[in-house]
Symmetry: C2
Subunit: 234 residues, 2 copies
């Protein structure tokens, strides 16, 4: 056997890593698919900034190529329960888009992921959006993801030169219970991720915001241990 003279490096992908369960699984799937991962976390001065610490821990334990935590103070714009003095709803999911929606957040985040990818010579972005067990945010739907891919072509020098941009959303059509199962299959520790929008003073998750409700129901349905300490556990 002759050793390969030139070993080609695996391709790079930029993965949006919030620190939640979905983005943790998404990053692990990107690695499983053979990408070297550039993990991007946006510190947008969100109410639940504790998720940023979770993102740091996840990036380290997964062994990503590089992790950038980028400050971007969306609180200057406000307009959301996550970035202004608006109470986080605790009554369960309703019909309308909830006040935890942050205006144009995923568009801003994907645009930044694209900026890093283009600078690094990559055309692959990963985002852990999910349009089944989700809060009804418009920027989690397939139409948005597909539309972003199209726009990326005319928005960049990469696209102008014939390069491709692909937005991978591997959790798009999974139920939360299936995401919990993926975490288990990939050997991830769910407790390393943070989902709650409204962390309690004692450091526990509230247990009753939309994000906690979706997470708990998913782990319950999957029969998998969540590992999160909820404030309403009694």
């Amino acid at each position: 056997m002759v050793a390969k003279a030139v070993s080609e490096q695996p391709p790079l992908a930029v993965v949006l890593l919030s620190g939640g369960l979905d983005s943790m699984v998404c990053a692990a799937l990107a690695l499983e698919q053979g990408f070297r991962v550039l993990a991007l976390t946006i510190d947008y001065n969100q109410r639940h900034r504790v998720e940023i610490d979770a993102a740091r821990g996840i990036a380290q334990s997964l062994g990503v190529e590089r992790h950038i935590v980028l400050p971007l103070d969306l609180r200057q714009f406000g307009g959301s329960a996550l970035t202004a003095d608006i109470a986080v709803p605790k009554g369960g999911l309703g019909e309308d888009i909830p006040v935890t929606y942050v205006p144009a957040r995923n568009l801003v985040f994907l645009s930044l992921a694209l900026a890093w990818a283009e600078a690094a010579g990559s055309g692959d972005l990963f985002i852990g959006v999910n349009a089944l067990d989700y809060s009804g945010y418009p920027d989690c739907r397939p139409e948005f993801i597909g539309g972003f891919e199209n726009l990326a072509r005319v928005a960049t020098a990469r696209g102008d030169r014939g390069g491709t941009v692909r937005v991978h959303a591997p959790l798009q059509h999974l139920k939360k219970s299936e995401i919990a199962q993926e975490a288990a299959r990939l050997g991830l520790d769910p407790a390393a991720s943070w989902s709650c929008y409204d962390p309690q003073p004692d450091g526990r998750a509230c247990g009753v915001c939309d994000s906690c409700r979706l997470r708990r129901a998913g782990f319950d349905a999957a029969g998998i241990e969540d590992g999160t300490q909820y404030g309403d556990d009694g």
Copy 2:
């Protein structure tokens, strides 16, 4: 005559204000069209950060409703002569997209403008892009602007609820000389704006980067005094 009991406020628009000539004229045109202006300047750790001071002066002299200077360190991504240790070309405009192109910059900036607009209840964005006398950046072309408008509809709660998003690019089809004429017509002081990519140690504009070349040629063609101090004036 009876005074109007309820006087409706003019509509809000978010204007991207870099501090350059084009964005200054663009902001003045938004005001002329009757909008109350929310001016957004991104401090992206650009080489020519002096333009941010120009933006502050312009926002104040125009009397905008509010001005946000938002730090966003694109130097962490690099990939451009404006955000990395890459020399600014001085030899004149070529055929290809130049190295002063900042990956996905206008997509990131318009996304942030949209975020602020949505939070403020506005669907009107202004950007001073120009696709005639320009450096060949892909994200200055009409296809990009139109594509962004389309994506904004599926990316936001505003769009989901049937609200419109309009990206005004009033300079899109003007020559630089016509932009200089617009500045004069609107009573603006060209010297209040900053265009040079590579400010000299003595505080003057370099005179020979693409941005200086386009600006000088425009004012020359219009026969209007520029007011900029160029380092190569002799």
